[in-house]
């Protein structure tokens, strides 16, 4: 019989290897899934993982997209990972992302048609503030009343979606848009736009911010007391209290930071790739970022790689939809499977698989 045995200490080797194994297992299971849908599995996998980067005619379009998609995923996931490490579960990043976009774009549009070079930084600040404020709701409710932050942050996603629907056809609607819902296009307004910084790379300010966030999180977690306190709280809350950590302060900081980063990601998106506030602005980045955070093992460098991988499945998925008629839902399922395989293999870092005599348990 197979049984699990707790390791005396967590294994770094397995902790690093499991995401790779999970990706491979997902590819295998995905191949079975695609075959079941009547697609050639090898071609499907190649279309998703290889063609966006190396296909002679698609790569030119796809490669820059990789950065465009990975930027917000990494930015949001970095913020989430800090909270997740401390056992603070912000799963409403999607709502903070939307509110960030609304606040940031709203701040800009209020000053239309200013051409000040300060406009864009102001919008970024407003976006981050919007996301921060939205995340402060579950944070304050949790510290003040002990309300479950998982449920509150998630409920607020639906509220944010309704606000988005309201402002895109109301408050922020383009007055010159002939009555169609949706705001002015920020990309056509130089002072407010978040342009591609280097041609054909997909690099925009949001991607730059994401890279900075990775470095910031790395230093925070490994070299700073706050990072130590975050890790300690997640591993043993009672020891953290003994070490003098103020749990309420940590909740405010972690939820605030993740909200601000998600809000900033929303602003970079609305001022860049999306261009305008519209009813379908919410794209699920806030939820996919949860997968990215776990896939990256809540480690900043891991999240960087996981964000790129997840972006690849997005682009590859679109390509497979176009080329092979693979349904878009298949990609969503594929991403969900990835998280499952990762969680299933996670135990290998802390437990050893033993094959031996069964034990009464």
């Amino acid at each position: 019989m197979i049984r699990l045995e707790k390791r005396p200490a967590p294994s770094r080797f397995w902790a690093g290897l499991t995401p790779v194994l999970a990706v491979l297992a997902t590819m295998a299971a995905g191949a079975v899934l695609f075959a079941a849908l009547g697609k050639d599995p090898v071609e499907a996998i190649r279309t998703i993982f290889w063609d966006p980067l190396f296909h002679e005619s698609f790569a030119a379009y796809s490669r820059p997209q990789l950065m465009v998609k990975a930027g917000p995923l990494i930015l949001i996931a970095i913020g989430l990972s800090l909270g997740f490490r401390a056992g603070i579960w912000n799963i409403g990043a999607e709502g903070q992302y939307i509110m960030g976009a609304i606040c940031g774009a709203g701040a800009g549009l209020a000053l239309y048609p200013s051409e000040s070079f300060l406009l864009f930084p102001l919008m970024v600040a407003a976006g981050a503030l919007g996301g921060w404020g939205w995340a402060m709701i579950p944070a304050v409710l949790k510290t003040r009343f002990g309300t479950n932050e998982i449920l509150v942050s998630l409920m607020l996603v639906y509220v944010a979606e309704n606000i988005l629907a309201s402002v895109s056809s109301g408050l922020l609607r383009n007055p010159e848009g002939m009555g169609f819902p949706g705001s002015r296009n920020l990309q056509q307004w130089a002072a407010a736009a978040n342009p591609e910084l280097i041609a054909n790379t997909g690099m925009h300010w949001g991607v730059v911010t994401a890279f900075v966030a990775v470095i910031f999180a790395y230093v925070l977690l490994n070299r700073h007391m706050l990072g130590f306190q975050i890790r300690l709280t997640g591993q043993s809350p009672r020891a953290a209290r003994f070490a003098g950590v103020d749990p309420a302060r940590l909740i405010l900081i972690c939820l605030g930071l993740s909200g601000a980063l998600a809000g900033a990601a929303g602003l970079f998106e609305v001022a860049g790739p999306a261009g305008q506030i519209s009813i379908d602005f919410g794209s699920g980045y806030g939820f996919t970022a949860i997968i990215v955070a776990f896939l990256g093992r809540l480690h900043p460098v891991g999240i960087l790689l996981a964000g790129l991988l997840m972006a690849l499945t997005y682009i590859g998925g679109e390509l497979a939809q176009l080329m092979l008629g693979l349904p878009s839902a298949a990609i969503q399922l594929f991403q969900g499977m990835l998280l499952f395989f990762l969680l299933a293999m996670d135990m290998s870092a802390n437990y050893r698989v033993r094959i031996g005599k069964p034990e009464v348990a």
């Binding site: 045995e5 005396p8 200490a9 967590p10 070299r223 700073h224 007391m225 706050l226 130590f228 890790r231 300690l232 591993q235 043993s236 009672r238 020891a239 953290a240 209290r241 003994f242 070490a243 003098g244 103020d246 005599k357 069964p358 034990e359 009464v360």
Partner: protein, 506 residues
Amino acid sequence: MTPLLTVEGLTKAYPGVVANDHVSFDVMPGEVHALLGENGAGKSTLVKMIYGLVKPDSGRMTLRGAPFEPAEPRAARAEGVAMVFQHFSLFEALNVAENVALGMEAPPPQHQLAARIREVSETYGLPLDPGRIVGDLSAGERQRVEIIRCLLQDPKLLIMDEPTSVLTPQEVGILFETLRKLAAEGTAILYISHKLEEIRALCDAATILRLGKVVDSCDPREKSAAELAEMMVGAKLRRPERAKRALGEVVVELDGLSLPPASPFGTPLRDISFRVRAGEVLGIGGVAGNGQDELLAALSGEAQTRPEAIRLHGAPIGHLDPNPRRRIAVLAAPEERLGHAAAPDMSLTENALLTAAIRQGLAVNGFLKWPAARAFAEKIIETFDVRTPGAGNAARALSGGNLQKFVIGREVLQRPELLVVNQPTWGVDAAAAAAIRQALLDLAASGAAVIVISQDLDELLEISDRFAALNEGRLTAPRPADGLTLEEIGLMMGGAHDMEVAHVDG
């Protein structure tokens, strides 16, 4: 007479340790049989095998002459084997009757069960209200629930794992009466303990375990406690040295400290007052769950109180968090090593940082000085003889004794003016326990005030200058430890909490 239970060559290995190595012994009907051994000698594993919780790798058991291989506790119970656990197998949110029902195979309906609980509890002098929620009961009362659960099944063999660690001396006396009556009725009792005097007072036979092996067996009534200790530890034990020392000025003063309970089943602290001088060890005894954790939390700063309730050199500090208290040399070591005093999955270096960042200057502007933290961890390891491959090892990989030496060493090396420890040698082997007690005495000799909260009365009498007892969140007035009798201590601990002597006829 044929033995009730025969154990032959029982062996059980876990990765890295052989918990039981060819263990053999017999238990006669009506015998009170002691299993004596240090922490880690393999007593618990052995009885778990008899109770069907753990399956032996090899060896065999017979019960009343027939092969006995319980696949699960249910099977053992069906054969008449019952067990009272050291860490009770009770459910706090459920009431007494429900808890009893969960330990029975085919419990009668609740009202009948309640009646039987009353009946049995009165017969054996263990009064208990079946309708009460277990979370509200004292440790001694909880043990009664466990015992009654066993008695209702009319056991032939009753296993008791360290049953007296939660009782006052008076309650121990009453428990022994109950056990003797049971034995007289023909029930065999397998009694696990490392407390020598108890075993001498109660048991008819003893099997002594050391490092998983049976090293000896004897009639404990014919041996002295010192002889038994030598058999158990395998070497003569050195008692800690206690230099006569002059006491300095008052370091810490508690004045009417009260604290509401932190959790639904917690104990409130009620109006606690005492003073401890420099160079003095104050021992605080009491049965588990009478406010020990809460008192430590109030002193360490994990729980805050009225500022004036605690004064250090006259300055109010009751409102301070743990870190500001560390800054003024008030340090603490809680009872639970894994998860409270130390983070299990973190390395010893990180665990050194956990409390020592301030006094050892391990962080500058919030940025951590890892080399300094590592050096401090290595200093603890070296000074306190912590057996581990290195400071990079995870805390959970250490044995209880080694981790406890690390935890105590971490605080002692930070030169506290006041050190508060809770259960400093709980579950620790004798050698490590002796080292820890010596370290606490040396610290006091160097001029620190030391408060030792413990449930081990022998330990408290050995190292404290004055003794006080916690009972339902109240603290008795401290008395000089020299010359205190067990009887007096028992009364300070609350005597026998409404227990009565068993009155079984015949």
